[in-house]
Symmetry: C2
Subunit: 315 residues, 2 copies
Amino acid sequence: MQNRLTIKDIARLSGVGKSTVSRVLNNESGVSQHTRERVEAVVNQHGFSPSRSARAMRGQSDKVVAIIVSRLDSRSENLAVQTMLPAFYAQGYDPIMMESQFSTERVEEHLQMLSRRNVDGIVLFGFTGVTQELLAVWQSSLVLLARDANGISSVCYDDEGAIRILMENLYARGHRYISFLGVPHCDITTGKRRHDAYLAFCQQHHLEPRSVLPGLGMKQGYEHVAQVLSPNTTALLCATDSLALGASKYLQEQRIDNLQLASVGNTPLITFLHPEIITVDPGYAQAGRQAAAQLIDQINDRASPRQIVVPARLV
Amino acid sequence: MQNRLTIKDIARLSGVGKSTVSRVLNNESGVSQHTRERVEAVVNQHGFSPSRSARAMRGQSDKVVAIIVSRLDSRSENLAVQTMLPAFYAQGYDPIMMESQFSTERVEEHLQMLSRRNVDGIVLFGFTGVTQELLAVWQSSLVLLARDANGISSVCYDDEGAIRILMENLYARGHRYISFLGVPHCDITTGKRRHDAYLAFCQQHHLEPRSVLPGLGMKQGYEHVAQVLSPNTTALLCATDSLALGASKYLQEQRIDNLQLASVGNTPLITFLHPEIITVDPGYAQAGRQAAAQLIDQINDRASPRQIVVPARLV
DNA sequence: CTGTTAGCGCATTCAG
DNA sequence: CTGAATGCGCTAACAG
């Protein structure tokens, strides 16, 4: 990259002082309409844009945020990141990506590196093991996704709501023997909350609950569905799309095709493979948007940490 | 973020001049062992790290690269990015992410933004429509993935090799009626090259080719497999995992289970759903590593643009 | 070998 | 309303 123009050049070219150019660039008041227009003309004409680094050094903020996903190939996180990126770019923030791979040590390493790098903020996709003391330092410049923690911002999915919607739907369709395939309770959100919501609905409607909580992989779904199937089971509710995928493989192999599937996830894959499945969209896209917005607000001191829950929606 | 230490503080704390600290930080020669150690001690003790922005301003390089994926939820690209990230971080580069969504206009926008931001380099996942004139300006600081273009660096997959390996394998297993499900030729690599390799093998072994090239989505696979199935077909070769996924859905619905499936992709999903499938790993992981390495070498003028092909491997 | 000096491009006083 | 001067943290060129 060759010699870029500087604010000084623009000043010379438009016959004003450097500071005037600076004022125009930052939309500051105190510049006559006439001068402003002339400077803007020169700026546009040369496609000038001020040096990030110089600005950062002066300011404090390098306008860089980090997004720490658990895994790059997580469908749900992809959907959230997809809406997050444009939101950050629109505000002039460069998002750098990191992968935690569900390891708290990795998160710690990344956080440390980010603190050195002086990033403005962080969006962290939470998982079991990510505790608030780990994040305490970042409190004011971090948004946790899919998990909540005391004192720090978070954007969570409405686990109870998602399950309730699905159960109501299944119930309305006449199903009375609905089994549940879920995730262990050590996973608070996807595990405990969704399972509890299932149990609550069953109790409220005098249904006999029947559930197993093997984990969140396809494989677990495949290997453990059998345990919740009884002769009178008519519907199967899965806590995640991955579980549903695994379960569906088993069902197909066993030629069981009279079971109504339902799951929370709404990822494109499951919808393609099973158009007849009933799914709830936890609101990944909205969560991404909100997380970005909240983080930016916090960075600019326009908001304090707060817990956000995005609504689930039947599709 | 509170007041961070500066190089000046470290200088004062260790009783030397600023430039000496700078020399130590940059591992420059011309510093006595004794002084170096003392400075390093102070640096470590305070966990000091120099300001990126200040460095960038002085040096030109902000040590930032961009990764432009086509879609965040592309399995293959995920696998490549997964190895790329650590490679960049290891060399002190911050990778910022962008999504092209297969739109050349988006690529153009992003490229323009990146030129303003003065990034050091770019990894771009290519697709049909990405031409060399678009990239010409970046020539020396761009690595194209999965596609090649004149004069610019690229890391490609061995499309011919991948197909040949699979065909040889199928042939060796006794299959003589092998159908092909592929992608239109307007997609040079995944489309034309793979199809041509299939045709070449057929001709060479006097097999009757039978193929259809609907596209690269699951849906296309699902809707068009039927066209290549004849009573004597014993094997089906798919140009991508997505196609295989779509095809397999159709096969399952039609209760056709005497067909040997093969595909190039090796994504975890297909292997889970169809353990019996024969797949070739195009080398996504290695491609990511290589792309990062090549880009870094180019940035540091340790390499000129070159075309790399990663080998395919039967799994 | 080491300290001093002078900018890099910008935002921010401070005078006009 | 506007321009000149100052310094952010760092590296490079220059003296000791």
